[in-house]
Amino acid sequence: MPKFRELRELHIANTKEKLSKLPDDFLIISVLRAGNEVSRNVKTLELRLKEWYMYYSGKEDRVENIAESNFDKNLADFASEIMALTKLHENLDSYLLSLMKRRCPKLTSVSNHVLGARLIAYAGSLEKLARMPSSKIQLLGAEKALFRHLKSGNKPPKYGIIYMHESIMNSENKGQAARRLASKIAIAARQDFYGVGRI
């Protein structure tokens, strides 16, 4: 079956090429999740470390100081590992920033890069985010509260994960701030995906 053999070679080559040309969305989501995981683990490990350090010195101290203390070799090693993880988290964060600036510069400047990446992760890809209405972006991550509202008539939620943006956290009228930010994010995502002048 020479025809099929040729066809197979062609399809394998085509698919590989397609896979290599994928947009960075998947990479962004992976880096974001890895960073979140590392930072969450650093926090628990730090708690463990401080608890352990209390046993020797009876007081709390910073991780850097514990790494240089000479109570216990294992304790100092533990502390230096945590410092390495903290450094890793910083590296991942700056990598995410550079990825986001390349893929969606406007979205990154309107929201911050972590929030932008979380929105992309929630939507699935930048394309899906760009096709969302701003009211949906405003409530991404608040689905539970939204459907509770629709079902039983409780108060509707005002914001989802965009709450982590400082403009909402620090504002007096949080609902209004959320609405405003969501509309700006919707515009920015569309400009990034479709190009300026095409919306």
């Binding site: 079956m1 099929f4 053999r5 066809l7 197979r8 399809h11 394998i12 085509n14 698919t15 590989k16 397609k18 896979l19 994928l22 998947f26």
Partner: protein, 173 residues
């Protein structure tokens, strides 16, 4: 978790895939079931494996490089006109996609690619069609829809191996 094809065999269905068949596999995922079919059709048969997700496609390409009768295609099974020119007519269609419009996707592909009197196999995931309804109700509706364009030969429930799944064998008239 075992392959749905194997579970159907265990539940007493006879799978109509022969040696030298050309198969179109929609929703090939990591290629576990595709490997089984690859052995069924033998070195003179062929399989077109279609999946839309790039994440599973990375693994599927590796599998296709190992088996010399499988070809990967990164396309959406819902849009057969996009890969119409990439594949040939086939003897068997096997579909396992978890979409709300499973039957509609099935219909499009059967009408476009299946030879006359060729077999078409649909793995019906009832939970994707309707979460609330009972699986039997969903099956009835799907069967009614299927009978408009194919002849339903046999079907079976895949429990206890897979919950809320039906394995339906059809034939194009």
């Amino acid at each position: 978790m075992i392959s749905k094809l194997i579970s159907a065999q265990k539940n007493g269905l006879k799978i109509p895939i022969k040696k030298r068949d050309v198969v179109l596999y929609l929703g090939a995922s990591h290629g576990v079931t595709a490997k089984v079919i690859s052995q069924k059709v033998g070195p003179n048969g062929f399989i077109f494996c279609i999946d839309v997700s790039p994440r599973v496609m990375m693994k599927l390409v590796k599998v296709c490089e190992e088996y010399d009768n499988m070809a990967p295609l990164l396309y959406d099974a819902n849009k057969p006109e996009l890969y119409k020119k990439q594949i040939t007519k086939v003897d068997v269609i096997y579909q396992d996609v978890a979409q709300k419009n499973q039957v509609e996707i099935f219909r499009k592909n059967v009408e476009m690619f299946l030879k006359k009197y060729g077999y078409a196999i649909l793995v019906l995931k009832t939970k994707s069609i309707d979460v609330v309804k009972d699986k039997k109700e969903v099956l009835e509706l799907a069967l009614k829809e299927l009978k408009e364009f194919v002849e339903v030969v046999d079907y079976a429930d895949l429990s206890p191996y897979h919950r809320e799944h039906y394995f339906i064998i059809c034939r194009k008239e």
